[in-house]
């Protein structure tokens, strides 16, 4: 990015858009089909919304409980992902050790594991007859929801951050060290500021994954209104009894997800530009 583009205007003028360098036409067609494949179902659902009933549908006590619980647990899980995931990504990206590939594969396991299986695994550890023998009695409580969400969301943060750390390289860190900065100073003042965009996007991905968590939560935390019944669970239950409410709540979930992504993108953008 050039100096003038940065200082003169916050938005790039349309004329600076680079000329396309010959993407084949058939590729555009397939890409459009792909975009529609994603967009059409969501659009169809939006068309099904009963707008007259909408406020009533989403303000029932069980819906409000589910929405607030979802927001609370997802934000907590995102924070947990940051606290655990940043050190994990640092170790994977910066500390050479034997078996690093294996460790990475294990860390990414929740990504490929069916969520229900993840929930069973959590039960096997924390459950009443689990390995910890109920020493940490969290199953079927709100903390269990957070644990389940963190379990499935953590790989998203680790994966995106490790990639960014590798791409950024360790040259700035080496310079900082030769200037006399200790490892913690280097981490907080050089390494992490340089990968803030990746931390933000990793956190957004983790939050979105936590917000949508269903299988592991249901298996490990159950479905108690106000305690463990998050929005996805509520939607699934409502689908049986009141499909209109399920659709309305789905729209709320989409709106929350879009809002979070937009806010995070807006917050990350200046940093991204600064460090580009």
């Amino acid at each position: 990015m050039t100096t003038s583009a940065r200082s003169s205007a916050s938005r790039r003028p349309a004329t600076s858009r680079p000329a396309t360098t010959g993407v084949p036409a058939w590729l555009l067609v397939i890409a459009a089909v792909g975009a529609l494949f994603v967009l059409l179902p969501v659009a169809a659902m939006v068309l099904q919304v009963d707008w007259a009933q909408f406020p009533a549908l989403i303000s029932s006590p069980s819906s409000v409980d589910a929405l607030l619980l979802s927001l609370r647990t997802s934000l907590t899980a995102t924070a947990a992902c940051l606290v655990l995931g940043i050190p994990m990504a640092m170790v994977l990206a910066r500390v050479p050790f034997r078996g690093r590939g294996l460790v990475r594969a294990i860390v990414l396991l929740p990504l490929v594991l069916p969520p229900v299986v993840g929930g069973l695994a959590l039960l096997a550890l924390y459950g009443r007859r689990g390995l910890l023998d109920g020493a940490l009695p969290v199953a079927f409580s709100t903390p269990a929801v957070v644990i389940a969400q963190t379990f499935v969301a953590l790989p998203f943060l680790v994966l995106s951050l490790e990639g960014a750390l590798r791409t950024a390289g360790d040259r700035y860190e080496a310079v900082a060290a030769t200037l006399g900065a200790g490892p913690s100073t280097v981490l907080f003042r050089v390494t992490l500021p340089l990968v803030v965009p990746a931390i933000v996007s990793g956190a957004v991905l983790s939050f979105a994954r936590a917000l949508g968590e269903f299988g592991a939560t249901l298996t490990f935390a159950g479905s108690l209104q106000g305690v463990t019944r998050t929005l996805p669970l509520e939607i699934y239950l409502q689908r049986e009894t009141d499909p209109d409410a399920a659709v309305a709540l789905s729209l709320v979930l989409i709106a929350v997800a879009i809002a979070v992504v937009a806010v995070a993108h807006g917050a990350g953008e200046p940093l991204r530009r600064r460090t580009a």
Binding site: T3, A177, T178, G180
Partner: protein, 341 residues
Amino acid sequence: MSLRLTASLAGRGVSVDLALASGETLALLGPNGAGKSTVLGMLAGLVRPDEGAAALDGTTLFDLPSTWLAPHRRGVALLAQEALLFPHLTAHGNVAFAARATGLARAAARERADDWLSRTGAEAVAERRPAELSGGQAQRVAIARALAAEPRLTLLDEPLASLDVGVAAELRLTLAEVLADRTAVLVTHDVLDAYLLADRVAVLQEGTVVEQGPTREVLARPRHPFTAEIAGLSLLTGRRTALGIRTDDGLELAGTESEPIGAGMPVTAVIRPSSVGLHPAGSDGIPARVTALEPRDDLVRVRTDRLTALLPAAVVAELRLAPGSPVSLRVAPEDVAIAPD
């Protein structure tokens, strides 16, 4: 001796032994891949040698296999060819970062940053971010940052190599000022850097020091082809004859010896390109073939398979020289400096 390094790293074919007095600047010369940057890396703590030891002002930097001081505890700052300014901080923030790392409080660090930015002529760009700086400005800030860390040893890895000629010339003067009383090691390809910035030079070839000593002495009387090359001189090796030198490939030249040398002893002869006359092939002189022409302003360095000559561009054009042209070279005996090898 203030700095002493004896270390080897088999993986990069490096085995060096260097010493430097306090306040002196050492220029590390050598062809690409000779191991110059590896030596700097060892001193900075970024490259770990297989074995060896290094000490700086009485502090052991490493003494393998038992002792290894982490880079941030060495007081050794590294300035690379790229400025590598932290992109998320302003120029001033970058310099203050280094000052803070020495333990200064925030306000004092800001003051020291101001001071170094003005000493390196970068105060005007203090509040800019690295992406908004030209190459020369960025390198000025990088110099300020390195010195704000108050290093006991400053390492410079071709700090001017990526800059335009004019910018490099200005920055070279700045470096000469700020490095004057500092212990520093400078990797360079440029003989001007060596003359202006370094008290001593060490020539590195294939990972070992082949020549070292005071800058002027080494560059005026090179004993190694690479040294002669970088000093812009022609170097012949051979044996002493009654008149001068007979090279290993049979060339005989009359010369002047610096001290009496017995016939048959191994000697070197150093010849300045400006003292070599170049004439059409077939006339008197040493038959040679042009290998390369290197224009420098209005002069051309004419490299041949024997000696290098320095001629006005007009003369080169008149003689219609091109790589491969046969020529005759003449050099007066008083311009062939013969010394014991």
